[in-house]
C-alpha cells in the first residue's frame, strides 16, 4: 500500500533524484571513483508495514547509519544495508580488500561518512524545497537485527509514524550494492512534506 498519489510519487522521485545526484557527485569527488546512485522505487508506509517490506531484503544483522533531524521536518533518517553489503560498500569505496568479511572500525567510519553525505543531501533538498532549515545530528552506525531497529524507532514517539522508503542502488566500479534509505516522520512532518509536493506538482 502506498499513501502517495501519482503526481506526489513523480515529484518525490524527482526530488530524491536531484538529492542523489548531489550525493553521488560528492561521493565521486571524495572517493575518486565514479559513483552512481539510482532510485528505482519510492513509497510511503505506516510503520507497522515496514517489517514485512524490509524482511524480504534483510534476514540477518543489518548496518544502519542513523541521523536524527530536527526543525520544520523532524524524525529519523537512516541508510540501511545488510552486513555483507555494508562491508562491500566500504571496501569498494576505499579500495580495500573486497574479500574481507569483517566490518572494522575504519569501515564503520567510512559508512558513517557515506550515509551522512546521502542523508544530508536528501534532507537538505527537502529543506530547500520547504524553504526551512533542518538540523542534523552527527550520524551513528548501528549493527542490529531488523526487529530491534524498528522497535528503537518507536521509543518515545507519541505521534503515528510513517516511513518514506527509498530503495537505493549504488553502482561503483561496475558493482552494484542495494540498500534502503528510510526517513521516519510523524504525521505532522509527513503532512508538511506532502503539502510541499502538491505545490510543486
Amino acid at each position: 500500500m502506498t499513501l502517495l498519489t501519482e503526481s506526489q510519487q513523480d515529484s518525490l522521485t524527482e526530488i530524491i533524484n536531484i538529492a542523489f545526484s548531489r550525493a553521488a557527485a560528492s561521493l565521486s569527488d571524495l572517493t575518486q571513483h565514479r559513483v552512481l546512485l539510482n532510485v528505482p522505487k519510492v513509497s510511503i508506509h505506516p510503520m507497522n508495514e515496514l517489517q514485512g517490506i524490509l524482511s524480504e531484503f534483510v534476514q540477518d544483522e543489518i548496518a544502519t547509519v542513523h541521523q536524527i533531524f530536527d526543525g520544520s521536518l523532524s524524525g529519523d533518517a537512516m541508510l540501511m544495508l545488510d552486513y555483507e553489503g555494508a562491508v562491500k560498500l566500504s571496501r569498494l569505496l576505499t579500495e580495500g580488500n573486497p574479500n574481507k568479511k569483517q566490518l572494522y572500525e575504519s569501515d564503520r567510519e567510512v559508512l558513517n561518512e557515506v550515509g551522512n553525505i546521502l542523508l544530508n543531501a536528501c534532507l537538505g533538498t527537502f529543506g530547500n524545497m520547504l524553504e526551512v532549515q533542518i538540523t542534523f545530528s552527527v550520524p551513528r552506525l548501528n549493527l542490529a537485527d531488523l526487529e530491534t531497529l524498528l522497535d528503537s524507532l518507536l521509543i518515545g514517539k507519541d505521534e503515528i509514524q510513517y516511513t518514506l522508503v527509498i530503495y537505493t542502488r549504488f553502482n561503483i566500479e561496475e558493482r552494484e550494492i542495494s540498500g534502503y534509505l528510510l526517513i521516519v516522520m510523524g504525521v505532522t512532518s509527513l503532512e508538511r512534506l506532502l503539502g510541499s509536493l502538491e505545490k510543486l506538482g
Partner: protein, 540 residues
Amino acid sequence: MGDWEKISAQWLSDDAPMGVFMVDADLKIRFWNRWMGVHSGKEAQFVMGKPLFSVCPEIETRGNARYYREALKGESAVLSQRFHDYLIPMPSDFAGGSFECMQQTARIESIKQNDQVNRIVTVIEDVTERLERERDLMASETRYRTLVDNARDAILVIQGKKIRQPNPAARTLFGFSGKPHAQKTDFDRFRDAVGPEFFHSLTQRYADRLAGKPVEELISFQVTDRNGEKQWLESNNVVINWEEKPALLAMLRNITKRKNAEAALETERNRLAVTLRSIGDGVLATDADGKVLFINRVAEELTGYAFKDALGEPLPRVFHIINQQTRKPCENPVEKVLKTGRVVGLANHTVLIARDGTERMIADSGSPIRDRGGRILGVVLAFQDVTEKYRMEAELARTRNLESLGILAGGIAHDFNNILAVILGNLNLVKIDLDPLCEGFECTTEAEQAVHQAKALARQLLTFAKGGAPVKKTAVLSEAIRESCGFAVRGSNVRCEYAIEDPLWPVEADVEQMGQVLNNLFINAKQAMPGGGLCSGGCP
C-alpha cells in the same frame, strides 16, 4: 553554571582525550581545548578569536572548508580517516609506523541558538594507533582467510538455521549464493543437498553436540552436489562461539574417491575370498607371527578346523604335519618361509594330522606375502590331499608289472603255439597211415586232443598278455564240460557222469576260459578222491 557543568567544561577543556574546538558563525575560533594545543603546537591563547582557516589553512587547501559552510546551514558531517587521513596536520606519538603523521577522524556539528547556527563544534580523534592494530588484524585475517579459502575441505559455520562464512570449497559444493533474501537460502540448499532423512539425524546430532552430549567425532554421509551428483563427505565438527552465540564449525571432506576405492577393494576382496574358498586346494594364510588369518573350505576339511576356530591360532596347532616314515613333526613351513623369504615346498611323505586324528598325505608349498616395500606381512600355504594319488601311483606300478609279465607270457605262448602247430601237424600225418581200429590210432587221437588243450592254454596266455579280456562268443558248453572232465580224470580211477540237458541253451562266454575253469574244478575233484570215485558234471 552548576557544579557538574563546570566540571564537564573543565574536563572538556583540559582532560578530554580528543581534540575539541568551536568556531562561531563567522568561523572564528571561540574554544580550543588543551589537547588541540598540545598536538597542533598552537596554544589556545594564540588562536582564540582568529579565523579558523588562517590558523589551520590545510582545512581550506585540502577542500574541507565546505563542511563548515554546510554546518552553517545546520548540516553535520563525519570525516573518516579512510577518505581524509586527517583534518588538521599534527604529529602523532604513534606516527612512524605505517603513517607519517597523526591519522584522524573528525565530526563537525552545528549548535543552534534561536533557530540560528551559533557555534560549530569539531571533535578530532587520533586513530593512528587503532589503524596500526587494524592493519595487523587485517593481515592476520588475510592469513587465516587464505588458509580457509584455499582449503580443499568445505568449511562452514552452522548457527541455528543459518550457514555462515562458507569457504569457496563449500560454496562450490553446495552452490551457496550467500544471499539471505534469495528464494532459497544457503541453509535450504544445505538441507536439500543432505536430503530429508539424513538431515533429520544430522540436526539431532548437531543439537546433541551443542548440548555437550557425547557424539561420534567423525561421520560420513552422502550429499547431492550442485550438479546433482552424489558425493561422500566426512564431517568433523567443533562447537565454537560465533559472535557470542554457540555454533558448529563443520569441516567437510569429500571422500567420494576413497569410498569408491574402498568399495572396489571390498568387491575385489570378496571376489578373492570366494575364489580362495572355492579353490580345490587347501589355502591357509598367516601373519608374520605365524598366526592363522585365513583358511579356505578345503583347508577346513583337511585340518578339521573351522574358520572361526582356526583364526588367530598358531599354525602348528591347526596345520599339524609329521613325516610318514619317522613320525616326527616336520619343520614349520611358515617359519621356513619367514627365515628364507622364499617359496618353499614340503618334503615327501608329509602327513597332515587333522583335528580328529585322520591322517592324510599332503603336498604343499608356502609363499611369503609381501607389501609394496617388500616387507613380509605373512605366509600363504597351499596344500592338497595326495593320499589317493599315492594309492593310484602304487596301483599303476603294479599294473605295469603285470603288463610286462603279460608281454613275456604272450611271447612264450606265441612260440609255444608254433611248436604245438608242428606237433599237431605231425600227429595228423601219423594218423593218415594208421588203422583207425588199432591202439596207436586212439593214442594219436588223444595226443591230438592234448595238443588242442595245450593250444587253448596258449591262447589263454595270449589273452592274459592282451590284458585278460575274455574272448566271448555264443557257444553251447556241453562239449566243453565233457572234454574238461574226460581230460582231467584220464588215467585215474575216477569215473565221470554227465547230466546235461539236450538241447542245452547256448551262452555268451569265452569257451577256452570256461573250459579252463571246469578243468580246474574237475582236477580238484579228482585230487580230492585219491581212492577213486564218481565225478558228476552237468547243467540241470
